[in-house]
C-alpha cells in the first residue's frame, strides 16, 4: 500500500496556497543563506592572516550600512507577512462566514489513544482510522480529542489541526481528485503515538454514495457454523464492552467494528488487514502495539479462529 505523505504535494485546493507560500519562502530563505555563506567564505578567504603586516585598520562600524541591513530584511519580512496572511485565508477559510451561521459538520474526527474515530452524523454511522470522502466536494470537518490532545494531519490535503478535549476545532477539508492519502496523529499523545495513522480515501461521488450505503447497512448475519460460533464468542467474551458492532454491541472505547473487514489496516495503520494478521493481532496485541488499550483476550486457538471467521463477515 503506497501513500503520499509529502507536504510538497497538493491534492486539495486548500493545500495549493500552502504549497505556493512554502516554495516562495524556501526560495527566499535559500537565497539569503547563499548570500551569507558567500560573504562568510569571501571574508575568510580574503582576510586570512598574513596578507598585511601589523594589526588591520580598526573599523568601528558604519551607521548607514547597519541601518541598511536592518531595513532591508524588515522590508522583506513585511512582504512575507502579507503573503502569509493571504495564504492563511486561502488555505483555511473561516468556517462561520463561508455559509452563514455555524453549519453542522459533515464529518467528526475524534482522536483516541491510539486510533481515530470518524463519525458521519448526517448519515448516522461511525468508522475508524479510514475516512472516505467524496472527491471535489468541500466538507466541514470537526476535530475533537477524546482523552488527550491529538492532531489531525493529512499533508497533501492541507493544514493540520489539534484535536483538543473540551475545545473542538473546525476546518474545511477537500480532496481534488480520487485517491488514497496518508496522514497521522501529529501531537505526541502517549506510548503508541507512532501508530495512530490516518488513511483518507477520496472517491468519485458515486463510489462514495455506494460506500455510504454499505456503511449504513447492517452486515449480513453469519451463515456458516464456524462464523456463527465466532459471533457467539464475540457476544459472550468482553469484546463488545469496547467495540460496537451495530445490532450486536455498543461499546465506544475502541474502534467500531461493524464493517471492520472492509478496512485496509488494523490498529490504526499498524498491520495490513487480512485474516492472518487479524488473528495474530487479537492473539497478542502487545506484540504489535505495546501500550495500546486492546487487552489480550486469552482465547483458545479454536475460539480465536472462529472469532476471526466471524469478524471477516463484517463487511
Amino acid at each position: 500500500m503506497r501513500q503520499v505523505t509529502s507536504a510538497l504535494e497538493s491534492h486539495s485546493p486548500l493545500q495549493h496556497g500552502i504549497l505556493h507560500v512554502t516554495i516562495v519562502t524556501l526560495v527566499i530563505m535559500f537565497l539569503i543563506m547563499v548570500l551569507v555563506f558567500v560573504l562568510l567564505v569571501a571574508a575568510s578567504l580574503r582576510y586570512r592572516q598574513g596578507r598585511r603586516p601589523g594589526e588591520p585598520d580598526q573599523n568601528f562600524g558604519n551607521t548607514k550600512l547597519e541601518l541598511a541591513w536592518t531595513a532591508l530584511p524588515l522590508l522583506l519580512l513585511v512582504c512575507l507577512f502579507i503573503l502569509t496572511v493571504i495564504a492563511m485565508r486561502e488555505s483555511d477559510p473561516p468556517v462561520a462566514s463561508a455559509s452563514g451561521a455555524d453549519p453542522p459538520p459533515d464529518i467528526v474526527a475524534v482522536g483516541h489513544q491510539f486510533w481515530w474515530e470518524f463519525r458521519y452524523p448526517a448519515e448516522g454511522f461511525v468508522t475508524a482510522n479510514e475516512m472516505h470522502i467524496p472527491a471535489g466536494r468541500r466538507l466541514l470537518l470537526r476535530i475533537e480529542g477524546f482523552d488527550v490532545i491529538h492532531d489531525f494531519w493529512v499533508p497533501v490535503l492541507g493544514r493540520k489541526m489539534d484535536a483538543i478535549p473540551g475545545q473542538p476545532n473546525e476546518m474545511f477539508f477537500e480532496a481534488s481528485e480520487p485517491g488514497e492519502y496518508g496522514g497521522t496523529c501529529a501531537e505526541f499523545c502517549g506510548a503508541e503515538h507512532a501508530w495512530m495513522r490516518i488513511l483518507v480515501i477520496a472517491q468519485a461521488e458515486n463510489d462514495f454514495q455506494l460506500w455510504i450505503r454499505q456503511q449504513q447497512s447492517l452486515p449480513p448475519a453469519p451463515s456458516e457454523p464456524e462464523a456463527e460460533r465466532g459471533a457467539q464468542i464475540f457476544r459472550t467474551t468482553s469484546c463488545g464492552v469496547c467495540h460496537a458492532v451495530n445490532g450486536v454491541s455498543s461499546g465506544r472505547l475502541g474502534p467500531d467494528l461493524t464493517h471492520v473487514a472492509s478496512r485496509q489496516t488494523l490498529a490504526a495503520g499498524r498491520l495490513v488487514n487480512n485474516p492472518v494478521n487479524l488473528e495474530a493481532w487479537i492473539a497478542d496485541p502487545d506484540k504489535y502495539k505495546p501500550g495500546s488499550f486492546m487487552p489480550n483476550a486469552a482465547l483458545s486457538e479454536p475460539d480465536l479462529s472462529a472469532l476471526v471467521r466471524y469478524l471477516e463477515t463484517l463487511r
Binding site: 586570512r48 592572516q49 502569509t84 483538543i164
Partner: protein, 561 residues
C-alpha cells in the same frame, strides 16, 4: 591603578577558602572560578548522558519498525533527552561560563554574592540528580519535555515520573534564578572604575540581558509546574477540561516561559561569539552599540512570540497573524547580528584557530537555523511542518549548530585562561570537522523528513522508502557526532595535564581576563589595568591608537563641524 571594589569580609573568606584543596576544597568553595568550573564540568557530564540518550533514539530509528527499544522506554528517553539538554546542559554551561568570566571581564574579585553562587550550583546539581533518580523509581517522565496536559495529568501519566519532572524543574529553576540575580548584581555593582555600561565587554552585556530574560521567564515555568502538581496531587483542575479547566491554558503558560527560554539558551553564546570573532579577526567589533542593543530588542520581543508554538491549536487567524508578525520581527535584530559579525571579519586579519573555526561553523549553522525559524512564522508552513522532524532539524540547528558550536568556540578560547594550558589544535581541528560533518548528516536530512510527513516523537515509523534512507543517514551522522565528542573529551583530559603552557594572554586578547595569570589567582587581579573603552588591553598595547582617544577625536571633530 584602579581599585577593585568588593566587600571586605568576602575577601577574607575567599583567601581562607583558596587554601583548601582536594574534594573538600571544591565542595566548600564559593570562589566564582571554582563554581564556574563545577557548572561547566557538571553540564559536560550531563551532555554525555543526553548524548547517549540521543544515540539510543537514533539507533531505534535506524530502520522502520525496529524493536530495539520499547515504545514507553523510547518516550522516557526522548523526554529526558530534551529535559537534560535544556535544563541540565545548555542553561548551566552558559551560567558556568558567565559566573567564571563576568567577574574577570569587569575586573572584580568575585560575584556579588559568592555564597548564593555556590548555592545556585548545588541546587541545580541536586535537582538534576533527583530528576534522574526517577529512573530508579521505575518511572522516568515520558510526556515530553513540554509535558502537555492532559497527557501529563494523573489519568494519563499515573506513575510518579511527571511529579519528579515538575518538582525538579522548580528546584533547578531556583538555582537558575539565583545565579541570574547574582550576575545582575555583580555587573551592577562590581565593575572596575571606568567600566561604564558602554565599556562592558559584549559577553558581559549579553549575560546581563540574559539574566533579565531568566528573571522574566522562570516564573511562568514555576507557575506551570505548580499548577500541574496541584492537578496531579491535590485533584485540581487547572488543565482538566471535564472540571472546567483548559488544556490549552497550560500551553500558553508553558510557552510564555518556553520561548524566552529558547533565547536564554543562545544569548550568552552570542556574547562568546562577539568576544572571539574580533580577537581572531584582529579587528574591533563592528557596531558595538548595534550588537548590544539588538540583544535587548530580542530579549523584549522574546516575550511576545510564544503562541507561534501553538499555530496548530486553532487559536484563530487574528491571534495567529499577530504572533506571526512578532516572530518575523524578531528575525531582524538576529539578522543584524550575523551581518555585524561578518563585517567584523571583513577587512580583518583572521587567525584560523580551532576556536575561530567553531565560530565560523556557528555563523553558518546558526544562519540555517535562524532562516528555518522564519519559515515557522509563515503560519501556513507551520500548519504543515509543526510537530514534524522539520522542527527537530530547526531547533538543533539553533541549539547545537548555534549554542553548542559557540560554546565549543568559547571553550577553546577560554580553556587556556581556565587551566593555564592550551587545548590541542590538531585534535581540535579533527573535533571541529567531525562535529560539522556528523551534525549536518544528522540534522540536514531531518528537514526533508519533516516535509515528507514524518511526525516527531515517534518511536518507530512505517516502511516508507524515502523515510528509511533519510533516517539511516541521520543515524550514521549521530554516530560520527558521538566520535567527535569522544575526541573533545580526550582533548580536555590530555590537554589539562600535558597541553602547551598558555601564558597569560595566548590570543593577544583585549578584555580584562587576559590581564591576569592563567589560571587567575583566587583574588583574580593584583592590579586591574585602567579601563577607558570596551577594549582596555588594546588601549594598553597600542598607546599610539587607543580606542578611547579615537572616540574623543571623533566627538571633537563632530563638535568642530
Amino acid at each position: 591603578m584602579s581599585e577593585v571594589r568588593v566587600a571586605l569580609p568576602t575577601i577574607r573568606k575567599l583567601e581562607e577558602i583558596g587554601k583548601r584543596t582536594g574534594i573538600f576544597g571544591w565542595v566548600s568553595s564559593v570562589d566564582h572560578k571554582q563554581v564556574g568550573i563545577l557548572y561547566i564540568l557538571t553540564a559536560l557530564g550531563w551532555f554525555c548522558i543526553g548524548g547517549i540518550e540521543a544515540a539510543l533514539m537514533r539507533t531505534q530509528l535506524i530502520v522502520p519498525e525496529n524493536r530495539f527499544l520499547e515504545p514507553y522506554t523510547y518516550n522516557e528517553i526522548f523526554t529526558m533527552h530534551g529535559t537534560t539538554m535544556i535544563f541540565l546542559v545548555i542553561v548551566p554551561v552558559l551560567l558556568g561560563f558567565s559566573v567564571y568570566m563576568v567577574p574577570l571581564m569587569i575586573g572584580a574579585r568575585d560575584v556579588a554574592f559568592p555564597r548564593l553562587n555556590a548555592f545556585g550550583y548545588w541546587i541545580y546539581s541536586f535537582g538534576a540528580l533527583l530528576l534522574y533518580f526517577s529512573f530508579f523509581a521505575h518511572d522516568a517522565p515520558a510526556a515530553g519535555w513540554f509535558a502537555y496536559t492532559p497527557l501529563s495529568e494523573k489519568p494519563y501519566s499515573n506513575l510518579q515520573g511527571m511529579d519528579f519532572w515538575a518538582i525538579c524543574l522548580v528546584i533547578i529553576g531556583i538555582g537558575t534564578t539565583a545565579t541570574a540575580l547574582n550576575i545582575i548584581a555583580t555587573v551592577a555593582t562590581l565593575r572596575v572604575k571606568g567600566m561604564s555600561i558602554r565599556h562592558l565587554p559584549l559577553f558581559v552585556w549579553m549575560t546581563l540581558v540574559n539574566s533579565f530574560v531568566i528573571l522574566g521567564a522562570m516564573p511562568a515555568l514555576n507557575a506551570a509546574c505548580i499548577m500541574l502538581l496541584v492537578d496531579r496531587q491535590l485533584y485540581g483542575h487547572f488543565f482538566n477540561a471535564n472540571g472546567g479547566g483548559s488544556p490549552v491554558f497550560y500551553q500558553h503558560v508553558f510557552w510564555n516561559f518556553g520561548h524566552p527560554e529558547v533565547y536564554l539558551m543562545i544569548i550568552p553564546a552570542w556574547g562568546m561569539i562577539s568576544e572571539l570573532i574580533p580577537v581572531f579577526s584582529r579587528k574591533v567589533i563592528y557596531g558595538y552599540a548595534v550588537v548590544a542593543t539588538s540583544t535587548v530588542a530580542i530579549a523584549l520581543l522574546s516575550f511576545s512570540v510564544w503562541a507561534h508554538h501553538m499555530f496548530a491549536v486553532g487559536l484563530g487567524h487574528t491571534l495567529d497573524s499577530i504572533f506571526a508578525a512578532a516572530s518575523m520581527l524578531i528575525a531582524v535584530p538576529t539578522g543584524v547580528k550575523i551581518f555585524n559579525w561578518i563585517a567584523t571579519m571583513w577587512g580583518g586579519s583572521i587567525r584560523f584557530t580551532t576556536s575561530m573555526w567553531f565560530a565560523i561553523g556557528f555563523l553558518l549553522m546558526f544562519t540555517i537555523g535562524g532562516l528555518s525559524g522564519v519559515t515557522f512564522a509563515v503560519v501556513p508552513i507551520d500548519w504543515q511542518v509543526t510537530d514534524t522532524y522539520y522542527v527537530v532539524a530547526h531547533f538543533h540547528y539553533v541549539l547545537f549548530g548555534g549554542t553548542a558550536l559557540a560554546v565549543l568556540a568559547g571553550a577553546y578560547y577560554w580553556f587556556p585562561k581556565i587551566t593555564g594550558r592550551m587545548l590541542s589544535e590538531p585534535l581540535g581541528k579533527w573535533h571541529f570537522w567531525l562535529t560539522l560533518l556528523g551534525f549536518n548528516l544528522t540534522f540536514m536530512v531531518q528537514h526533508s523528513l519533516g516535509i515528507l510527513g514524518m511526525p516527531r516523537r515517534v518511536y518507530t515509523y512505517p516502511n516508507i522508502p524515502e523515510w528509511n534512507e533519510l533516517n539511516l543517514i541521520s543515524t550514521i551522522g549521530t554516530y560520527i557526532l558521538g566520535i567527535s565528542v569522544l575526541i573533545f573529551l580526550w582533548n580536555i583530559i590530555y590537554s589539562a595535564r600535558r597541553g602547551k603552557i598558555a601564558g597569560n594572554d595566548p590570543w593577544d586578547g583585549w578584555t580584562l581576563e587576559w590581564a591576569t595569570t592563567s589560571p587567575p589567582p583566587v583574588h583574580n587581579f593584583d592590579d586591574v589595568p585602567p579601563v577607558k573603552s570596551a577594549r582596555p588591553l588594546w588601549d594598553l598595547k597600542h598607546p599610539e591608537d587607543p580606542d578611547w582617544l579615537r572616540k574623543s577625536k571623533k566627538a571633537r571633530a563632530k563638535k568642530g563641524r
